[in-house]
């Protein structure tokens, strides 16, 4: 799972204050994403150089919105979040970077962020928060998930996700109790929606690629045809088991909550009954009835556990199992 929350909500808040948000909400959400080849190479390079130690590397995507598709034309990486570097100002870094890039005519519109993932485990609270703040500020933003391990197995694994409108509403309400979620009628399948990606290159880049192909002497390695994928399989299975364990615990908590709630209801009923009985007895004896006590104060309802984490875990488990099925024969 991700280490260190991504402090982007602060950045986004400050951006909203400083810059006038002139983006009008789109009628149609983003249907397709067009990525420049340069962005792909940069993301790969960033993970390769800086991501070997910790599990997650992150960065910002820049580009523009064209009708119903999102064009990502450049990106820049975010430095690792180290605990001992307290005075490092992430907001300032971002502002400076964007200002400098504006000087060289690079699109400076924030359209999303990217993150690398370890064996497909990226659905977490931090990701949700960051993506929510991004989508709240900029309607069309996406999060690109890059899976370096699957890429090393032979095929580039880059996926783009957005939060569904329903999930956005729920996050706005911040009501994660079971009743709230039941009202919104949300399941884990409609948390994230995947947007198809298309890679686009300009003509000059095509010329460059042609040149590279002629001149480069690196041999094809054909990792795709590698039959020994058991290592990855083991690791993925282990992570899946961990997630299922988490899910189990969470469900156990919810069950205890339900049981407590029903027990409390019973107790309330019993108390009321006894009260009534006593009252009738007293009336028959001619004594004043006992005052009605505030029942709610006596029986405080147990705390409802937030269900959002359950949803997240469920989503994560789904993702991992999907990865299994997609990857299974190779």
């Amino acid at each position: 799972m991700c280490f260190g929350p991504f402090p982007l909500h602060q950045t986004m808040a400050s951006r909203k204050e400083s810059a006038a948000s002139g983006s009008s909400p789109l009628e149609t959400p983003v249907k397709q994403i067009q990525i420049d080849g340069l962005v792909v190479l940069k993301i790969i390079k960033h993970y390769q150089e800086e991501g070997q130690g910790s599990e997650v590397v992150q960065g910002v995507l820049l580009g523009l919105v064209v009708e119903d598709s999102l064009e990502i034309t450049n990106c820049f990486p975010f430095p690792q979040h180290t605990e001992d570097d307290v005075d490092f100002d992430e907001v300032q870094y971002q502002m400076e970077m964007m200002r400098s890039l504006r000087h060289v005519n690079i699109d400076h519109l924030h359209v999303g962020w990217y993150q690398s993932t370890h064996y497909g485990s990226f659905v977490s609270r931090a990701l949700l928060d960051s993506q929510f703040s991004y989508q709240h500020a900029i309607e069309e933003s996406v999060v690109l998930i890059y899976d370096p391990i699957k890429t090393a197995q032979g095929s580039l694994c880059l996926k783009a996700y957005r939060l569904t409108p329903k999930l956005m509403e729920i996050c706005k309400e911040k009501d994660f109790s079971p009743e709230g979620l039941k009202k919104a009628c949300i399941g884990f399948e409609i948390m994230f929606e995947e947007v198809p990606i298309v890679i686009k290159n300009s003509h000059l880049i095509n010329v460059l690629l042609l040149d590279l192909q002629e001149k480069s002497t690196v041999a094809d390695k054909h990792e795709l045809l590698n039959l020994s994928s058991s290592n990855h399989l083991e690791k993925s299975l282990q992570l899946l088991m961990d997630r299922v364990d988490d899910m189990n615990q969470d469900i156990g908590k919810y069950n205890t909550y339900c049981r407590n709630l029903s027990k409390q209801q019973q107790q309330k009923q019993q108390y009321l009954q006894r009260r009534q009985q006593e009252n009738t007895q007293r009336q028959s004896r001619g004594e004043p009835p006992l005052p009605e006590e505030d029942i709610s104060k006596m029986f405080k309802p147990p705390q409802a556990p937030p269900r959002m984490d359950t949803l997240l875990i469920a989503g994560q488990v789904t993702c991992q199992s999907v990865i299994f099925m997609g990857r299974s024969l190779f």
Partner: protein, 344 residues
Amino acid sequence: MLNHMIHVPVSILCFTANFLLIREIHVANVASTGFCQPPTSAGGQQHESHGDLRSLSSSLFIIILHFLYEIMAVHGPVVKIHPVVLASIVDSYERRNEGATRVIGTLLGTTDKHSVEVTNCFSVPHNESEDEVAVDMEFAKNMYELHKKVSPSEVIIGWYATGYDITEHSVLIHEYYSREAPNPIHLTVDTALQSNKMNIRAYVSSQMGVPGKTVGVMFTPLTVKYVYYDTERIGVELLQRTRASPSRTNGLTTDLAQVASAAGRVQEMLTTVLSYIEDILSGKVMADNSVGRFLMDLVNKVPKITAEDFESMLNSNINDLLMVTYLANLTQAQIALNEKLVVL
């Protein structure tokens, strides 16, 4: 074969160098003794004739360098470039300001004794006119600081420029960069495609001329190699496919299609090798010992397993995968059920 080719141009180069140097010394001597009347009487004009000679020699050098670049192996660090750097350069060229003919920027990377590895770059705004060039050095410093925060191991190792020639302004810019890095390399990427190709060249500067009298700067070419990380190679392979489609776009294909295409490629390679061997056996092509050794390696690399063992291994592997798939499906069904029960 390459060695022979090297000797000839090296000798030409030395000869030309000697010739030009001697001429320059001669002119210097002549000017100091005043024996031979210089073309103009004023003393200041002598510098102009020197300048003419220097520009002539430098242009001659440049011509010779361009001619020799492809075949000459040069002494100096080998430059290893990652494709992300080149893509970045091309992209900043496409985004250049109106009226600018070329773009310059800083190269970041790592160096060691024999090679220089270029892993990152950023463009620097600059203004260039006939007689002067202005580079935004503050910007360059700022960007370098920002980049250092992300990857602290990268240092400034040189600079790049798009365009075919090395101009006088390049010398000035190179001087500035030699203050930032010990021995900066200069990379040119020909985005104007003058020779129908994007010539990517690297140079390092070295002193030339008569020490003490007239010195100049010569750009010596270096060999350029392209290095890829594994994942980078896979990414580049994917990008290559955009060349094929007319709209220059390419979707990320499904796994099965990719495996099929990879298997197809291997099959093609095998057929090529087989046809080559048949040609040799039938005598059409001369047998080459080095190729023969490679073929021996290839055949020896195939592990010695009997057919039954291989089949049983493959089957057990597939069984594992099927079981995992089944379990994953089961988990998914379980979660869906759970969801429904909670909502009820």
